[in-house]
């Protein structure tokens, strides 16, 4: 009896799917071939003829590989992206805003830092950075929660990073759009002022909160490799 599991593993090749899923597909296809082979033998065919009939089941293994990948990832990928990126990402955005609201409600006072210098063209140039320290301290939890959620939903490393950093990333995109709009809609406002505003927003609402979120995301960026169980089973 041919070892159909070994045969399928050798011909199908890697599918680019999670190892457990690939192994299940390989076993399932091998079982199909084995059943077909056994049926052909029962019908009175010689082993070689039976094997030839079974081999006709798949004229092009590379095409089958692509079709299985498309079937598994194509239609499912949207659902998967929703589960592992958009849903946790939006939830983290709400949590990010909610925690800030809670920190303000509790009467926490913001810490304000001024970064400024004198320039010959514009006079005093400064950035006023406003931080709520208790909120910044809580942000690693948001980052960790987002990355963990994405990981549990099957998200890859990039998706975990994006979910954990989702609030900061979204704000960055928003500020850049606002800046672009400001350039187009309001050409009379001095450039220095526009850049100062953008700098304030980006440092205060993107970079520093983003760094806090990233601290929480970090532990979830590693893929723990589990030992792969044997893909080829002797028949």
């Amino acid at each position: 009896m041919p070892d159909w599991r070994q045969f399928v593993s050798a011909h199908l090749g890697p599918l680019g799917l999670p190892p457990k899923c690939e192994q299940e597909i390989s076993v399932e296809l091998a079982d199909h071939l084995q059943d077909h082979y056994a049926a052909a033998l029962r019908d009175g065919l010689a082993a070689e003829q039976a094997a030839a009939i079974v081999l006709d089941e798949v004229p092009d293994w590379a095409a089958l590989n692509r079709e299985i990948f498309d079937a598994k990832r194509g239609e499912a990928s949207m659902k998967q992206v929703t589960r592992s990126l958009w849903l946790p990402g939006v939830a983290m955005l709400f949590l990010y805003a909610f925690l800030l609201r809670v920190v303000i409600w509790t009467g926490s006072q913001p810490s304000v830092f001024f970064l400024g210098r004198q320039t010959p063209l514009t006079g005093y140039m400064g950035l006023a950075l406003v931080f709520y320290l208790p909120w910044l301290i809580l942000l690693p939890i948001v980052g960790a929660l987002g990355a963990y959620w994405s990981k549990r939903s099957g998200g890859g490393v990039l998706q975990r990073l994006l979910v954990g950093m989702f609030p900061a990333t979204l704000l960055l995109a928003l500020f850049l759009c606002m800046m672009l709009l400001a350039f187009v809609a309001d050409p009379h406002v001095p450039l220095a002022l526009k850049f100062a505003a953008l700098g304030t927003y980006i440092i205060g609402w993107v970079l520093i909160p983003g760094a806090a979120l990233f601290i929480g995301v970090l532990p979830f960026l590693r893929n723990h490799q589990r030992p792969r169980s044997a893909g080829v089973v002797s028949q």
Binding site: E24, I25, V27, E28, L29, D31, H32, L33, D35, H36, A39, D56, E57, V58, P59, D60, A63, L64, E67, I68, D70, A71, K72, G74, E75, A76, K79
Partner: protein, 112 residues
């Protein structure tokens, strides 16, 4: 025996699959055999045509696959219709009925 054009086969494959699974859960090879038997050999699923379709329907939520141990002690991946999948059968049947009726009016393809 007359075999069907692959394009028609592809279009009818979903209905054929759902129809045989309406009777109960089956594993892949049983599905292929059941379709071949019921169609009198006109419809034949090879491994290459069957499994991508099964996985696509599973991803759509029309089928649910679970590993089950058969009476012979072998673990097999069995497919069963979900309630969403079951709901697709009637509209698909209607669609194909309308298609064959229209084709019959044009080309007179119905059996005498």
């Amino acid at each position: 025996m007359t075999t069907l054009d692959p394009v028609i086969k592809r279009g009818s494959a979903e209905l054929a699959l759902l129809a045989v699974l309406a009777d109960g859960p089956l594993h892949g090879y049983e599905i292929a055999r059941r379709i071949e038997d019921r169609s009198g050999g006109a419809l034949r699923f090879t491994l290459a045509s069957l499994y991508p379709l099964l996985y696509r329907l599973e991803a759509r939520g029309w089928l649910k696959a679970t590993w089950q141990t058969t009476s012979g002690g072998r673990r097999r991946r069995c497919y069963r219709l979900t309630s969403t999948g079951r709901k697709q059968i009637a509209p698909l049947r209607q669609e194909w009925r309308a298609f064959f009726r229209a084709l019959n009016r044009i080309a007179g393809v119905a059996d005498a």
